[in-house]
Amino acid sequence: MTEIIALSIVCLAALIHASFQLSISTLTLMSGHSIGNGRSHMRLVTLLGGFVAGATTMTILLVCALGLLLSYLIVGEQVPQVLWAAGCGLLFGVGIAVWLFYYRRGKGTMLWLPRQTAEFLAERSKKTKNTGEAFALGLASVFGELLFIIAPLMVAVLSIVTLTPDMQLLGIVLYVAISMISLLAVAALVSGGHKLSDIQRWREANKNFLQFAAGTALFVLGFYLYVNEVLVTPVSTIGSML
């Protein structure tokens, strides 16, 4: 796998990560409570900043921790096929789960998450008053969606670990920056004075499209990696032996 292909996979995986909605839902709820309680605009902006910083930090920690764990399983410069096969399996499995379950049926943008996790985040978003709490909420919101983000995260990390150190750093920066785009966009809209109802209405109107796009992208990425890293590699190895 060349560097440009590895970084392209990282970018696509990060885009899939960005399409997941738990952090955005939590940010929207926190903003609604903050504005509804009459807090100043400056306080709202610092809360949004704290939340985004928390989500970014958790994403960096997850990428680095998973990279460290997987590096113990990698011998030499090649990622074992079994890891690629596991990554593809996760992509297909999560892709089907996203297609079928990501949003709960009915109105709103309720996610298919354990209700206790969702209620905890909703309750914490109501009680968040300072930047530290917003930071912790950002951390928790990314961790709460680990069930879905683990698939793109794993293949991104598998693509990053075999790169040179400077390229690894670039890969991590690219993944984190792209995966935070949607959150940053919503934070910018809220701090720019847009109405929460408009943002939430847009999310609700487009939830089926977002769900379909995320599931399809997971499948496309899984198929590409399966063909190129699981099927093609042994064939080319056999070909070179002959």
């Binding site: 609604g32 504005i35 709103g108 943008t109 996610l111 939430q200």
Partner: protein, 95 residues
């Protein structure tokens, strides 16, 4: 409302029944209006009107569910501030 006590049955039946509290309703409607960037005075005025309408609806009912209150309040709030009504009705369905 002439000092009449109205019981509110909470959603899901897990929490105990509580007495209708105008201040609580006013606060939640005002918060929804403020989150739609309404000015404080306008939010207060809208919340007053919606509370009056809900209390008028409650006159003939000794016991209602919290869902009923939310539905009726949302219906009246839509006339004054559709965006706030959307937030008021949907905030439980965000996550």
């Amino acid at each position: 409302m002439s000092g009449k006590v109205i019981d509110i049955v909470k959603s899901g039946g897990k929490r105990p029944t509580e007495t209708f509290d105008r201040v609580k309703l006013h606060h939640s409607i005002k918060a929804a209006c403020l989150s739609e960037r309404s000015h404080d005075g306008a939010a207060d005025s809208t919340a007053e009107k919606v509370c009056d309408a809900v209390i008028a609806w409650l006159e003939e009912r000794p016991e209602v569910t919290s869902h009923d209150i939310r539905r009726i309040a949302s219906r009246h709030l839509t006339r004054h501030n559709p965006g706030a009504a959307y937030i008021y009705e949907h905030h439980r369905f965000t996550i």
